[in-house]
């Protein structure tokens, strides 16, 4: 079966056109205008950045009950909205994460796996974790009197940063190993963000949340380790398949 490591008719490089490429280079050189330092473009971008309005705001808490009062007291004013913003970010990411693993489960059925690759049960287990973390964050946000259905600015930015991941995973042409590359990016970001969320919960004096988030981080570390391991084995399996039976493995 062919895979993404196979060589073929890729036409993107300049070496594909040995006769026409030099002419294209010559054309660009002949059409060259006076040298510019790029300052005008930089000025235009920096002016726009100075004049820009924010992506959006954090919605105010719907009610100030129980823990909300405590956290507001601990964080004072604006910092409380930072906590709500970041909780919203994690919530959205975990929710997307549950969908990402759903897609990878389909790919694991459609494409061959390899020794040491993910099993259906392992993928399902992670998918359940993501869903459970989404549920955990819903209840945490509610405890603060905020609205877990709101899209916070950090949630929006995180979704935009990781836009390419669902796009790559949903593409029927990408195989299981290529999809795992997407999961790796997601899990790396997820781990780092859970760490900073724990710090924020500590600052907010939310001990119960800290404990729950530490447990979540442990699971996320496990996910990351698994994805890395599957990928490593996947590349090794592809190399093995490419090697002829009498060709020894390369030394590193």
């Amino acid at each position: 079966m062919s895979d993404a490591f196979d060589t073929g008719m890729n036409r993107t490089g300049i070496a594909t056109a040995p006769i026409e490429a030099p002419k294209t280079i010559q054309g660009a050189v002949e059409g060259r205008g006076p040298a510019v330092d790029g300052a005008a473009a930089a000025l235009m971008r920096s002016t726009c950045a100075r004049e820009a309005e924010p992506i959006g705001t954090v919605p105010p808490p719907a009610s100030l009950k129980g823990a909300a009062k405590t956290v507001l007291k601990a964080l004072q004013g604006e910092k409380a909205s930072v906590f709500i913003d970041k909780l919203g970010e994690r919530l959205a990411f975990e929710r997307i994460g549950a969908r990402l693993y759903e897609v990878v489960l389909i790919k694991a059925e459609a494409y061959p796996t390899w020794p040491g690759g993910p099993s259906r049960e392992e993928l399902l287990e992670i998918q359940r974790d993501e869903l459970s973390h989404f549920g955990l964050l819903q209840s945490c946000i509610e405890k603060l009197g905020a609205d877990p259905t709101a899209m916070t600015p950090s949630a929006d930015i995180a979704a935009n940063l990781s836009k390419g991941i669902p796009q790559v995973l949903a593409d029927p042409r990408t195989d299981l190993r290529q999809c795992l590359e997407g999961l790796l990016v997601a899990e790396l970001a997820d781990n780092a963000c859970w760490e900073s969320l724990i710090e924020l919960a500590q600052e907010a004096g939310q001990d119960e949340m800290v404990r729950a988030f530490e447990a979540a981080l442990q699971r996320e570390e496990l996910h990351l380790g698994r994805v890395k391991g599957w990928l490593k084995q996947g590349v090794a399996a592809a190399l093995g398949a490419k090697r002829s039976p009498d060709q020894p493995a390369a030394r590193h």
Partner: protein, 398 residues
């Protein structure tokens, strides 16, 4: 409050121009903007886009009008740029799509209620129930593909539930043609409604045709193809309400009046201060253009423009939710189908439409596949399951 189209002069055509900075200004905030501001931006892009389309076709058919058409077209294109570039880059094509369907639903619902002609009102209600279903299908796609909650975009103004199922909306082309209004007797509002809806539907078709291939998911790609096909039917439907007998200049005059009417409708209810100023300026541009075309019309056709367009604008579009009206329409008319220019019960639908539909859906229906069992929930359909799972895990840890 109304606007006197005879007295208002607007900004003279020669004084209308925009710089790049004015055209490409600061976008609205996807998170903070009221859903109806997004709806207005989408509609006005559609109005400008239709205007540009019409002016080009007119130029191909009217040698003597080429120069005035070219002059107006240039500024219309700049106006469209200004309006369409108000969309922020963090709003994904699918999120913008949800906005497009909200436009189709709330705008059509308002128009259907105010339409004085019963046949035209029936036509608008017929189209409404189809676009209503599209929102539900796209909401399911957004939830299941991108993990998003469509209500973040629609902001609880609009129900997210099935309408007339998209898979039964596919018809024979001859069952999409309607009877046009009578240009001599039609109420001005009927004309403005038809011109507004054809603009909104046409841009929706073009948008889906443009963004559909940007998706990688096979169901998303098919869903955009399927709904774009319905939008083409809707363009056919609304376009056929406009009598082909209207002269080119009559159509041009009505296009300009529609632009004035829609910008004026936006201005009166806009809550975003910066965008309100844009609507005000664009209204003044359009009044100047209307004046220009009115003079052209009267000098060439040697009749009063008031025979074609009203002297005073009728009541503006109401930018508000129409939930009760839509639910009632759904209850009464979801089983209606089209037979030629008439509406019939599902059992009486012509064989030709059923055959078309069977052929299209023979390998499966994307709109059914995407929304299989879908029920919108606050925070996505995963929300209740996630909550239960988290609670049971918490209990097992204790």
């Amino acid at each position: 409050m109304t606007l006197d189209l005879v007295k208002e002069r607007g900004i003279p055509l020669d004084d209308q121009s925009l710089s790049w900075k004015e055209m490409v200004g600061r976008p609205y905030s996807k998170l903070d903007v009221d859903a109806f501001t997004r709806v207005r931006v989408i509609l006005m892009n559609g109005i400008e886009s239709e205007q540009l389309r019409f002016l080009h076709v007119a130029a191909r058919m009217n040698r003597e009008l080429r120069e005035p058409l070219a002059r107006i077209r240039r500024i219309e294109q700049q106006q469209q740029t200004l309006v369409n570039w108000l969309h922020p880059a963090d709003q994904s094509p699918l999120e913008t799509t949800l906005g497009y369907e909200q436009v189709a639903i709330e705008l059509t619902a308002d128009i259907a209620q105010k339409e004085p002609d019963p046949y035209l009102a029936q036509t608008h209600r017929f189209g409404l129930l189809e676009d209503f279903d599209h929102l539900y299908r796209y909401a399911a796609l957004y939830d299941r593909l991108e993990g998003g909650d469509a209500n973040n975009i629609t902001q609880s103004y609009t129900d997210i539930r099935p309408g007339r199922p998209t898979m039964v909306e596919h018809r024979h082309p001859l069952d999409d043609l309607r009877r046009p209004y009578d240009p001599a007797t039609a109420h001005p509002l009927s004309k403005l409604h038809a011109y507004t809806l054809v603009a909104a539907e046409h841009q929706t078709h073009d948008y889906y045709m443009h963004v559909g291939p940007l998706f990688s998911d096979p169901i998303a790609r098919q869903l955009y193809a399927e709904i774009a096909s319905i939008e083409e039917q809707h363009v056919t439907q609304y376009e056929s309400l406009i009598p082909p007998e209207e002269s080119w200049l009559t159509k041009w005059l009505l296009h300009e009046a529609t632009e004035v009417y829609t910008y004026w409708s936006c201005l009166g209810q806009e809550t975003h201060p910066r965008i309100k100023l844009i609507w005000e300026r664009m209204l003044q541009f359009e009044l100047g253009q209307l004046r220009f075309v009115r003079e052209l019309f009267e000098s060439r056709e040697r009749r009063d423009a008031s025979e074609v367009i009203p002297n005073q604008l009728p009541s503006p579009i109401r930018w508000t939710e129409h939930r009760a009206f839509i639910r009632e329409t759904l209850k009464q008319e979801v089983n209606l189908r089209a037979s030629g220019a008439d509406y019939v019960q599902a059992a009486e639908e012509p064989r030709r439409s059923l055959e078309r539909r069977e052929r299209l859906n023979k390998d499966g229906s994307p709109s059914e596949a995407v929304a299989n069992g879908y029920v919108w929930r606050p925070g996505t359909e995963l929300s209740p399951r996630a909550r239960d799972l988290a609670q049971s895990q918490q209990r097992s840890l204790q």
